[in-house]
Subunit: 277 residues, 6 copies
Amino acid sequence: MHSTQHLIKIALEEDIGSGDITTDNLVDPDLAGKGVIIAKEPFILAGLDMAWQVFKHLDSKVVFRPAYIDGDTIDDGKTIANVEGKLHALLSGERTALNFLQRLSGIATYVRSYVDELANKRVRLVDTRKTTPGWRVLEKYAVRMGGAYNHRMGLYDGVLIKDNHNAACGGIKKAVDRIRNKVSHLVKIEVEVSTLGQVKDALNAGADVIMLDNMSIEQIKEATAFIDGRVVVEVSGNVTKSVLKSLADTGVDIISVGALTHSARCVDISMRIEAAD
Amino acid sequence: MHSTQHLIKIALEEDIGSGDITTDNLVDPDLAGKGVIIAKEPFILAGLDMAWQVFKHLDSKVVFRPAYIDGDTIDDGKTIANVEGKLHALLSGERTALNFLQRLSGIATYVRSYVDELANKRVRLVDTRKTTPGWRVLEKYAVRMGGAYNHRMGLYDGVLIKDNHNAACGGIKKAVDRIRNKVSHLVKIEVEVSTLGQVKDALNAGADVIMLDNMSIEQIKEATAFIDGRVVVEVSGNVTKSVLKSLADTGVDIISVGALTHSARCVDISMRIEAAD
Amino acid sequence: MHSTQHLIKIALEEDIGSGDITTDNLVDPDLAGKGVIIAKEPFILAGLDMAWQVFKHLDSKVVFRPAYIDGDTIDDGKTIANVEGKLHALLSGERTALNFLQRLSGIATYVRSYVDELANKRVRLVDTRKTTPGWRVLEKYAVRMGGAYNHRMGLYDGVLIKDNHNAACGGIKKAVDRIRNKVSHLVKIEVEVSTLGQVKDALNAGADVIMLDNMSIEQIKEATAFIDGRVVVEVSGNVTKSVLKSLADTGVDIISVGALTHSARCVDISMRIEAAD
Amino acid sequence: MHSTQHLIKIALEEDIGSGDITTDNLVDPDLAGKGVIIAKEPFILAGLDMAWQVFKHLDSKVVFRPAYIDGDTIDDGKTIANVEGKLHALLSGERTALNFLQRLSGIATYVRSYVDELANKRVRLVDTRKTTPGWRVLEKYAVRMGGAYNHRMGLYDGVLIKDNHNAACGGIKKAVDRIRNKVSHLVKIEVEVSTLGQVKDALNAGADVIMLDNMSIEQIKEATAFIDGRVVVEVSGNVTKSVLKSLADTGVDIISVGALTHSARCVDISMRIEAAD
Amino acid sequence: MHSTQHLIKIALEEDIGSGDITTDNLVDPDLAGKGVIIAKEPFILAGLDMAWQVFKHLDSKVVFRPAYIDGDTIDDGKTIANVEGKLHALLSGERTALNFLQRLSGIATYVRSYVDELANKRVRLVDTRKTTPGWRVLEKYAVRMGGAYNHRMGLYDGVLIKDNHNAACGGIKKAVDRIRNKVSHLVKIEVEVSTLGQVKDALNAGADVIMLDNMSIEQIKEATAFIDGRVVVEVSGNVTKSVLKSLADTGVDIISVGALTHSARCVDISMRIEAAD
Amino acid sequence: MHSTQHLIKIALEEDIGSGDITTDNLVDPDLAGKGVIIAKEPFILAGLDMAWQVFKHLDSKVVFRPAYIDGDTIDDGKTIANVEGKLHALLSGERTALNFLQRLSGIATYVRSYVDELANKRVRLVDTRKTTPGWRVLEKYAVRMGGAYNHRMGLYDGVLIKDNHNAACGGIKKAVDRIRNKVSHLVKIEVEVSTLGQVKDALNAGADVIMLDNMSIEQIKEATAFIDGRVVVEVSGNVTKSVLKSLADTGVDIISVGALTHSARCVDISMRIEAAD
């Protein structure tokens, strides 16, 4: 909550700075206004609360009436929300509010297209840490609105042991042992591997989750068969939409896809503003 | 400068938070390491300094040796930079550094494809305020690295009078007069119009720049012919790459394109890290 | 808006710090109080909202009833505003509220004396960047309340090319060309000159505004005649009140005066506080 | 220390914001430069360290060589300091550095003129809390450089009981008793009085310091005679330079003067900058 | 006030961070709840307002109804306060609210046991600067709730000259003279001494308060007799509860005890939360 | 890292504020000094880096030479570290540096006494969220230095389902199912229970960890026998040192003890400072 409030402040500061010189000089600060936020293409909605907060920062008494909730499918042309407040606040906040809404809905929409691809599959689609710096919490929220799941939030709330970590400790077994003895008993330990040999090492070391990194479909099948449900299996590494189903059919539990957050484009949303009667 | 430093802090805080529990527990804090940042596809580079700063925040003595400068075209597989410092800092900072680099290079690359489309045209391609909240200064920088130009930085450093402003003042003429009498003599006044009638009003009102918003190619030609070089002419409104050349040929001075910042995807860049010898 | 809120916080912190030990220990925190803010000399009012905000920070339910608006001429002895709220908040906030009001009204009053001197002259009187660090937005606001105009807000929203910039680029022409190709099409380019030769160079280079720096009345007349309305002309450099009219009569468009903000003294305003009945 | 660092950040942010668009676009960021800070009138110096810090913020390796120390008398035309660093930092920081130096030296100079008036008098001249919000620590420092003394820093480090406090407690005696029982044994208790009757009450109540507020010279003499050295005596209330000596001759210990900080004007200091050879 | 608000923010951030993943995922954000804060042992209450503020940060409309005020003696099993608001806010804020309440009440309770030991003694029991970093204002408040007094708040609001200071100045006399001439006339000067010789030096130097540091009961008696009421006398240095009365009987005015803040343990307080009917 | 830096800033600000008026006025800012940090009782060391950072904030060139590392057992009278830097920085920073060191070492020492009690037992001793607000990361670090383990860092990095959560979801099974479907696959799910019936429900629901809250030794034995190693078992609830061994012998995996952080007292550490030769 806190960090998103902070981002709204930064966003308004970078856009308004020392003042909205057009609106400040042309619009009576006490004039009432109303606005309508409208979809200009079909998409999955995410970010309503951020848009609301933006206007609230500029006019604490603004009334924001959403017609949908985050996660809803919006058709082209639909009214997403009505906003009433000071005309000045609507004009100065419009762009920033839309910038939040367009980006978060863009991610939710892009995620949904992956989720749809995996309809009826048992596998869990998750995001990665390839998010826009400063937007981690928001983008992971949009991923959930799109219907996928989150991987760890950051380096602080999940263990993922990579090659470098293993090398620094003298092997997978030593790394897992050492970290098991350090972290909370509520934290699962995931080990990244890229060969079947490493899969075996990770299993022996007592990993809770094994990440198969950049392996071929065949290798993944072999690894999954070998693991045979003993631990959770995640695949990762430049996963594209076209291979999603084949990956799901290998029997893995988790597919992580960086593109969910790093390749979505903003959707088109506009706002019509006018002075209140 | 300041605001980008601030964003780096936020980014590291959201990723590392109370600690990188994998690296903190497995890697000796004094171990030296080295890393190589490598292009995994061809792109236009932007954001080198941000990547550097990320590592510097984690290890003030890190050595960062870039092989290119921002704006350069990078081929797939090329080494972008070498980094030397504490292995711990490299591992904890890798993702955040790449997240900055991938996004900014992604924008520069996308912008360059528009710029190339306009090769040999006199028109100036500019961005809009449709940027990622918190990233205004950075994304506008990436636009310049891609070869395009910036529109105003925010609401504080340029006047753009829209319909609502005119309505609140009683017409274009009154709006322009009023604001001319308020803002600094260094600020140009731009008026957004959508009909030829408004073009005439804006000219009569003494606008310095006229923005033709969402007009057809034919209307734009007519408006440009009428204005006949007396003021700067900008076109705006859902401009796609396919119409760029036709727009340029109408004789307008400026084409503004929101997609430059809101539709770019991240490019693929990786980092190979190892303990120093 | 944001930056002024921030300054109020700093101001209350530096004055109250770990606590107003007199009031905290002697006044019941729930006691109601009322205060009257009174002019102790005639002046031009500026800063009402800052005074209000100070009290609001200490008692969110304070009622502030101003009898005037910023820009008004206040006679000695007049009541400027009535304040009702917690006696504790009134006592702890009094000094800080008055410190804002006295300084901003002091600037507005000083500016007005310059403005009056130029009554019926076409020239525009503007301020400079010689403001109190931390107070830029507020002092420029007070300048407007005094009846003068603002020059650029800072280094970010206007181009002013000085000798050093020209030297670094290889002359006025090269500097103007280079910067024209870099900054937004909404930004005007001003060039500072001190000789008639430089005036010609600046005109040839395509400057939008020419600043005549530290030139004699004779030189200014000559320069203005030569420019002949082709671009906006500003004079600058230790302008005193006594030469204002002569400067105005040279035909220049803009006179910038650092003294407006750096030489004003605070006006005398007091507050009478008592417990509410 | 901390609060002044903070003010420098705010000052640079308000002046430079999203960038010094003139210097950023015209001056090579790696170019070396040198600057000379020069007095344009005689004054008492204060604020050298602030000027230094401003440049340091923009170029951490800047070399600053002052020719004087704060408190020194500077003659017109003298070089105050030499600065060497990036030309870019010198150009972007010049105005902010001078704004600090001019204001603080302005206060020190104004204070010195009061101090000189009291040469050979035993009385101590002190400032008040009538300072520029955000500048308390700095302006009180400048007062010391001018040769006067500081009153309490804020509401947190000294007790000053005024009429409202007494009224809220049921009289001076009760107020002093109550607060003596609350505050640290290191804090002296000052009581503001305006009649001889109140002087007696304050003495009986055990005040450590008595402030005679807005009393006539005759009344002050009478009060001072009555107090007869038993406690410290301060006079306050619209003290002008012309009455300073007469006030000193009444035998009071302390004269507090709000004008020291609220009526000083900035002194004239300039900076000559050039590219290094 | 400000600094405690800041600490609440930090506390919630460190506990909730990117989200209370249990409550966020299991409890409807609109569900109403109520809570009862209950004493699990007898203690002296302190920190009610902090607990209230914690919940307010999470639900601005929370209703907090305390059954006691700070300083009250609470019996085991008693209800301290009722809280009504969003169930979500109660669950996420519970731990942080209790953490404030337990620690501050713990200090008040521990202090009270010292105060009781000194019942009917004239001496004033005071705290030291041995407080938890970040908690100075709060812990000193808890000390007052426990019935003791505060020493100076920090290094900024009281002078305490120690050996190092004397050594740096060339002796006690020189140190006191120098500082008397520098600090405000509202500040008392305390000198730390450890021998009778130094007591005499401090008296001669004009100290307002003398601190007898780590002296034996005998030495303290001798020093107090010598000082004979001329200045305030404080004893300090590893004072334990068992020697309190003997120290009080030496005739000293002030006993300062670091243990008041550095050796208190938290008291046991719990909160019962349920969904509102 | 970041949050601890922030706490150091707050700590220095609350202690030094507008200035260390004793040292500022008596000690030449350029004088060199040296200090020795000495144990005044035996203890387990924790917090060396915090002490170092405090001095670094006041003198960036300070040299800090520790004789031990955190976790070491220190005998009474031993030198812990030598510090060399500006005498001014040593004097102003001494108290804050020691306040960090005393509290963190106090916790480590107290924790070690519990750890020693459990020597040769298989059980893991962990802390709770009953930490000093603002000190979570630091106190959990001190717990590790004392030889115990950490429970979750906060509400963000571990799931602990309590009665209220179950009630809000309609039972343990529904709560576990719902949250499993929401949180990352790296997060384990712990359920708090207080009866054997709930133990069975939690097992059936698929909990990863079961917390036995406030149960008797007999009940704990019964529960542990029933669970029989299928999931991790934690006991919690007012655990005292005297029952530690009995609890360990019940066969539980984890014992969590709030007292580790909320009942430790500071240890006694002093610093001897002198001017350098």
